[in-house]
Symmetry: C2
Subunit: 226 residues, 2 copies
DNA sequence: CGCCTATTTGAAAACCGTCAAAGTATGTGG
DNA sequence: CCACATACTTTGACGGTTTTCAAATAGGCG
C-alpha cells in the first residue's frame, strides 16, 4: 500500500480525523499493513501486545473464553475502528482475542511508536479518551443486562444495538447471537422462533431481518411493567 | 478546605501524581469540595453531568438498575479514584449512580474547566487513558464471568478481586456481594455457608474473612477440569 | 450428490430465583 | 440495663428459566 493510501484510511477514522497533513504523514509512516483471511485470529487473549490495529477493511470479532471453553463475544468492529488498544495503553497482554470474520486488512502501529506520537498530540489523546469512555459505557450497560435481565430481553437489546450500527439486516447466526447474549444456541433458536411466528423478525440461514422494530423495542424494555 | 490541602489530595491520585506545583495549584483552584453522609446519592443514573469527582475520603458504590429494579453493582471506589468521568468525557448523562457508603468527601471539577485543563497536559491525558483502559479490562472480564461462569465461581472471583484491593477482611454484606456477582442474597448465603463449613471463610455480621485463599482460587478457576 | 454447517425440536435435569418464615446481631431509646 | 426496632443471616420448599443432551431436518457449496 502506498503511504498516500494509508493516510486516506487513517484520516477516515474517528480518532485521527482531526490530524493535519504533516502528522498524518508521520503516523502513516509508522504503520505496517496486515491481512487476514476469514476465521483467522489476529491476536489471542494472553498474547504479548506489540501493537494495536486500525481496521482498514473487513469485520472483526473480539471475544474471551470462559473457564469451560465457552466463547463470550465482547464486540464486533469494522472499518475505521481500533482494536487491541487497551493492551497497548496498559502495557499488558491482550485481554481478549480478535478474529477476522471476513477478509480483513489492518494497519498496525507499534506500541512505543504510538505512545511517543501521542505525547505531543493531546487532541488525539482526547479522542481516544472519548472512544474508551464509549466502550466502557457499552460494557457496563451489557454488565447490567447480563446480571439483571432475562435472555429474551438480552437478545432483543443485542439485536437493537446491532441494527443501530449495521441496519435491520443482521448477518449473524443464532450461535453468534447467543455468544453475544451470553446464552446457548438452542435457547436463542427457541426465542427467535417465537419472534418469527409473531412476525417480529424473518430469517434465512445466517441472516436475520428485523420486521417490527417497535415490538422488538418493547421486548428489550422488559415484560409488561405497568 | 485550604487550597494547599486540596493540592495534597490531588497530588495523591494516580492521574495527577505527575503534575508540577504550578499546575497542581491551577487544578486545585478549579475544584469545589462536597460532602455526603452514608447512603446518600452523589449522582443518579441519567442525571445531567456537570462535573466529575475525585474521592478525597470514604468509599463509593457505583451501580445501575435493571428493568426490574434490581441493583447491579459495577464497582467500588475509594480515596484517590475518579468517579463520573465517563459522563464528562462523553458529554452525556451519568451512565450509573454513585452512592456514598461511608461519610464521603469529594473534590468536584466542572466539565469544561477540566477539558480545557486537559488539552494542554498530555501527560495527564495519557494517565486517564491508562485508568480507562484498566476499567475497560475489568469490565470485560466481568462480562465474561457473568456470561460464562456459574454463581459460585463468580462469587469466588469477586471476593478475590476485592481482597487484592482491600485485604482478606471484606467489609461487605451478602447482599452487597450478591449485587456484585449478579445473583440473589439467598444464593450468596447458601454458597458462603458451604464455604464456611469447609473452612474457606469465616464471617461475622457484615464482614467476611478469607481463611484459605488457595482453595478460593481453585473455586474461582472453575470445577475440576481434568 | 455428499458434506458441512445451520436450524429445529423434544425431553429431562440442573441451577438458580422466589417466597416465606424464623433466627440473630446491632444499636437506640426509655 | 432492658426492650425493641432494624437489618443481616439462615433455612426450607417450590417453581421457573435455562442448559444440557440427543436426534432429526434443511440449506448451501464443491
Amino acid at each position: 500500500l502506498l503511504k498516500n493510501q494509508k493516510s486516506k484510511i487513517i484520516e477516515q477514522t474517528f480518532v485521527f480525523s482531526s490530524l493535519d497533513p504533516a502528522d498524518l504523514n508521520i503516523l502513516s509512516s509508522l504503520t505496517v499493513e496486515y491481512h487476514f483471511v476469514p476465521d483467522e485470529y489476529i491476536f489471542m487473549e494472553g498474547d504479548p501486545s506489540e501493537r494495536f490495529y486500525i481496521i482498514a477493511d473487513g469485520r472483526v470479532r473480539v471475544s474471551k473464553l470462559s473457564s469451560q471453553g465457552k466463547e463470550v463475544v465482547l464486540a464486533f468492529f469494522g472499518p475505521g475502528e481500533m482494536i487491541g488498544e487497551v493492551a497497548v495503553f496498559e502495557n499488558k497482554p491482550y485481554p481478549a482475542s480478535a478474529q477476522a470474520l471476513t477478509g480483513v486488512s489492518l494497519l498496525g502501529i507499534k506500541k512505543q511508536d504510538f505512545l511517543s506520537f501521542l505525547v505531543c498530540r493531546p487532541q488525539v489523546a482526547l479522542k481516544i479518551i472519548n472512544v474508551l469512555s464509549g466502550r466502557l459505557r457499552d460494557s457496563q450497560s451489557r454488565l447490567r443486562d447480563l446480571a439483571g435481565e432475562r435472555v429474551e430481553q438480552r437478545l432483543a437489546r443485542i439485536m437493537i444495538m446491532l441494527s443501530s450500527r449495521i441496519g435491520s439486516d443482521l448477518p449473524f447466526t443464532r450461535q453468534e447471537l447467543s455468544d453475544m447474549a451470553g446464552t446457548t444456541t438452542e435457547t436463542a433458536i427457541r426465542i427467535l422462533s417465537q419472534w418469527k411466528e409473531r412476525g417480529i423478525i424473518s430469517s434465512v440461514r445466517g441472516k436475520i431481518t428485523i420486521l417490527d422494530p417497535t415490538r422488538l423495542a418493547q421486548l428489550a424494555a422488559g415484560p409488561l411493567t405497568g
